[in-house]
């Protein structure tokens, strides 16, 4: 789905999900590894504030991925 959206719209699409090999297999170009399968962009283990912090960090990384010129499939890990 990610690949076809990117192709049809000709815009960068970043995918945040947990199983990175699947994203690599299906042809996602900009990959941000998520937290866990049932909550890819959140984590309540450190309470509601911790959850928001995690989400903010992931989205900032996603925005960075969208602004990064890449030539091949790239995984954007936490720095």
């Amino acid at each position: 789905m990610t690949r076809e959206i990117e192709k049809a719209a000709d815009i960068p699409v970043v995918q945040i999900a947990t199983i990175v090999p699947i994203m690599l297999t299906v042809g996602t170009n900009r990959i941000v590894p998520g937290v866990a399968i049932p909550h890819p962009v959140g984590d309540y283990s450190n309470g509601p504030e911790g959850d928001r912090r995690v989400r903010r960090e992931l989205l900032e990384r996603a925005l960075k991925a969208l602004q990064t010129k890449i030539d091949e499939q790239t995984i954007f890990e936490k720095e």
Binding site: M1, T2, R3, E4, I5, E6, K7, A8, A9, D10, I11, P12, V13, V14, Q15, I16, A17, T18, M23, T25, V26, G27, N29, R30, G34, I37, P38, H39, P40, V41, G42, D43, Y44, P48, D51, R52, R55, R56, L58, L59, A62, L63, L66, Q67, T68, K69, I70, D71, E72, Q73, T74
Partner: protein
């Protein structure tokens, strides 16, 4: 057995690129590579006619060209169609495949072609024809024609076709049920043992091959960017108004989120059948990060969040459906002038 052969302007001896706009025409008997087919067939089949069309003409007028070519093919009252081989010639491969599709759908005619494994015509039309594997250039002509002729004879005689691997054509994506003398468990164990011994083994269920595309250019100005949220995590307005299936989805939903600042559990829910939805029930933002996206939008980190968010369930969903969702969503985003998208998956 009556065989019709489809050729482009080059192999029909009309000329190269300068003649690529050659309009569809028919010639009696074999032409060019058809002469080799005639030899291979001997008295088992006859190449009764050749239909010729320029590759550019075909590519630029596919519908009209197909209609005309099919009419010419039909005039020979054939039992089998042979198209090409096209090797790695893209336009020719697409034309051959499209002719085969037309012959199958409009005339119920079985068709054989030959292509290099990267010819774009292969992916597009492999369902409609028995396409044999060829090298990337006409160096492989003789071997390709020999394989194609053998399949054509089989089809013309309406003999049972064995599997793609056994017959030497590219899989058409068709699975046939049949009984094996040894049960699945035993076969699986044998396969595992062969693998452990480093011996060759053959899978009975090939995984689909996924495609790659060149990465899109990055955003140059985040401050003015319109960003869309998409999910395959099954988060939809409570009550699932579009009845998206909980697994093996065949549709996606588009939902207006203008003015919505948070995915509240009273308004949104996950209907996904492939993961534990406990946390989605506590706060759907852990799957569709609307609250923080709104926060960043307010802060001016990026320009604007797109007013529509798209959702489906990605579990058991076929690759073909997922690709179609992507194409349709991508088209909508393009028309709406969206500059980038964040897709979350579970």
């Amino acid at each position: 057995m009556r065989v019709v052969h489809y050729l482009n302007q080059f192999y029909a001896g009309k000329g190269g690129e300068d003649k690529a706009d050659w309009k569809p025409e028919a010639a009696p008997g074999p032409v060019g590579p058809g002469l080799e087919l005639k030899k291979l067939f001997g008295d088992q089949a006859e190449v009764v006619g050749t239909v010729i069309c320029g590759d550019s003409h075909y590519g630029e007028n596919m519908e009209a060209a197909q209609a005309e070519v099919i009419k010419l093919i039909e005039s020979f009252r054939p039992d089998v169609l042979i198209a090409g081989p096209a090797f790695n010639a893209g336009r020719y491969g697409v034309a051959c495949g499209n002719v085969c599709q037309g012959a199958a759908e409009k005339l119920g005619l079985p068709a054989v072609s030959g292509m290099y494994n990267e010819n774009p015509g292969l992916e597009l039309y492999r369902k409609y024809a028995y396409i044999v594997s060829t090298p990337d250039s006409a160096r492989g002509m003789r071997a390709a024609l020999s394989k194609m002729a053998a399949l054509a004879l089989k089809l013309g005689r309406k003999e049972a076709m064995a599997s793609a691997a056994d017959e030497g054509y590219f899989s058409r994506g068709i699975r046939k049920n049949f009984f094996r003398p040894v049960n699945g468990a035993e076969r699986a164990v044998e396969m595992a043992l062969a693998r452990l011994r480093g011996q060759p083994f053959k899978t009975e269920y090939e995984m689909p091959v996924f495609k790659r595309i060149a990465p899109a250019a990055p955003l140059t100005d985040l401050k003015t960017a319109v960003i869309a949220l998409i999910t395959s995590g099954g988060v939809v307005p409570r009550g699932n108004p579009d009845h998206i299936r909980v697994s093996s989805a065949e549709t996606f939903g588009a939902y207006d989120i203008s003015g919505v600042t948070d995915m509240k559990p009273e308004d949104y829910e996950s209907i996904h059948g492939g993961y534990d939805r406990y946390w989605a029930g506590v706060d759907p933002d852990v799957i569709v990060p609307l609250d923080v996206m709104r926060e960043m939008e307010r802060e001016g980190v990026f320009g604007k969040l797109h007013d529509t968010f798209y959702a489906t369930t990605g579990t058991g969903t076929s690759v073909a459906h997922a690709e179609r969702f992507g194409q349709e969503i991508g088209e909508k985003l393009r028309k709406a002038g969206v500059s980038a998208a964040i897709l979350t998956s579970t």
